[in-house]
Symmetry: C2
Subunit: 197 residues, 2 copies
DNA sequence: TCCCGCCTACCTACTAATTAGTAGGGTACA
DNA sequence: TGTACCCTACTAATTAGTAGGTAGGCGGGA
């Protein structure tokens, strides 16, 4: 039975974006078929094209755009409202990242982007860079300017932090530690060093 | 013109495994078609089935088996012959890892494995675990037993180290730093801590 | 030394299934 | 009455995989 528009908690188009985002982020662009998405929504494949006339590419592009806009806002917010210490900022960022599907940068760059048109590929790569790397790199940079550390490779640190959070998400499937415990351990190790002093 | 068997530098089957390994590791299981592999070898798609009667699945399984056997040997060797200090062991491991295509564990677990049969999936997951995580985890463990550090989460450290090396490979595409410089920076940061003391 | 059968490596030509996408119709709600 | 949403029914392209044939190097026997 069909829902009345007024009793729909969310629009069908948003539901489509939600479902597609989950599948794309789990399996990547090529591995997800329009049929998979339609099945997950309980709808026929052809019906998807009513909401996304541009087809699979447009769907993927909109999903990534929306997700990256969210990540960017949330990470900037997390860093800004965590106080002046790098450790608290990284903890806040980790809490956001671990509460959402992992962003597999390696797969995005190597598999998903090449399957898209050149301009879409470049745009999404830039958006992802700005949403995930820049807020973290900026936290590392200002911490350095405050004298908390003196490592000049902000982007390297940001990328490596992101990769560590992805590792935590994979590890959570095989380990008994909680995600938060893993993240806390890694962040303190990164900040204070592994070697005993 | 066809090569004489005696003057072939490597068997066609090994060439197939090499080409497939490159493509699979770049793009993942589903994104690579048998046609892609055949094209890259300069051969017709149907000819692949002469070397791998089991088809795409068997090809992928053999590729991963071979790659993981190599990684396991090389990493154990690197750690063993790098002397007693964790730093030298990690540097040796990083040199090996950065000289080979990155192993995207997130993609393997989330995309590639679910496309395989249950038993193949479990076997390859175990092989990958033993080849990549265990040698590194063992290095962290023995370093702890020598008193170099006191972080008990060997596997977490190993996974996170691997993820950092993957991040270096992605970063090398966008940064002007060399892979080795990035790896050195990250290893020293991990060991001695980011925060100024 | 020459010839014959065998095997490796490849080919052409197909099949069945699956893919993204299109055309056009129905139905319920505003 | 129009429109948002979903449907059935199709198409063309691509996919993994099969059937069966061919060219040529190789070893063994006369």
């Amino acid at each position: 039975m069909k829902q009345t528009i007024s009793e729909q908690t969310t629009s069908p188009r948003n539901r489509l974006l939600d479902v597609a985002e989950r599948l794309f982020s789990e399996q990547g662009y090529e591995a997800v078929t329009m049929r998979d998405i339609a099945d997950a929504m309980g709808v026929r494949q052809a019906s998807l094209y009513h909401h996304v006339p541009g087809g699979k590419q447009q769907l993927y592009v909109e999903v990534v755009e929306r997700a990256m806009a969210r990540h960017r806002l949330a990470l900037e917010q997390a860093v800004a409202s965590a106080g002046p210490h790098l450790r608290d900022q990284l903890l806040a960022a980790s809490r956001w990242l671990l509460d959402h599907p992992p962003v597999d940068l390696v797969r995005m760059v190597n598999s998903d982007m090449p399957a898209l048109s050149e301009e879409h590929s470049r745009r999404l790569t830039r958006l992802t860079f700005e949403a995930l790397l820049l807020p973290l790199a900026s936290a590392f940079r200002t911490a350095r300017e405050r004298g908390e550390h003196n490592n000049p490779a902000d982007l390297l640190l940001a990328g490596s932090f992101l990769a560590m959070m992805d590792a935590v998400q994979v590890g959570a499937r095989f380990s008994s530690m909680t995600k938060d415990a893993m993240a806390n351990n890694l962040i303190d190790t990164l900040l204070f060093g592994l070697l005993a002093r």
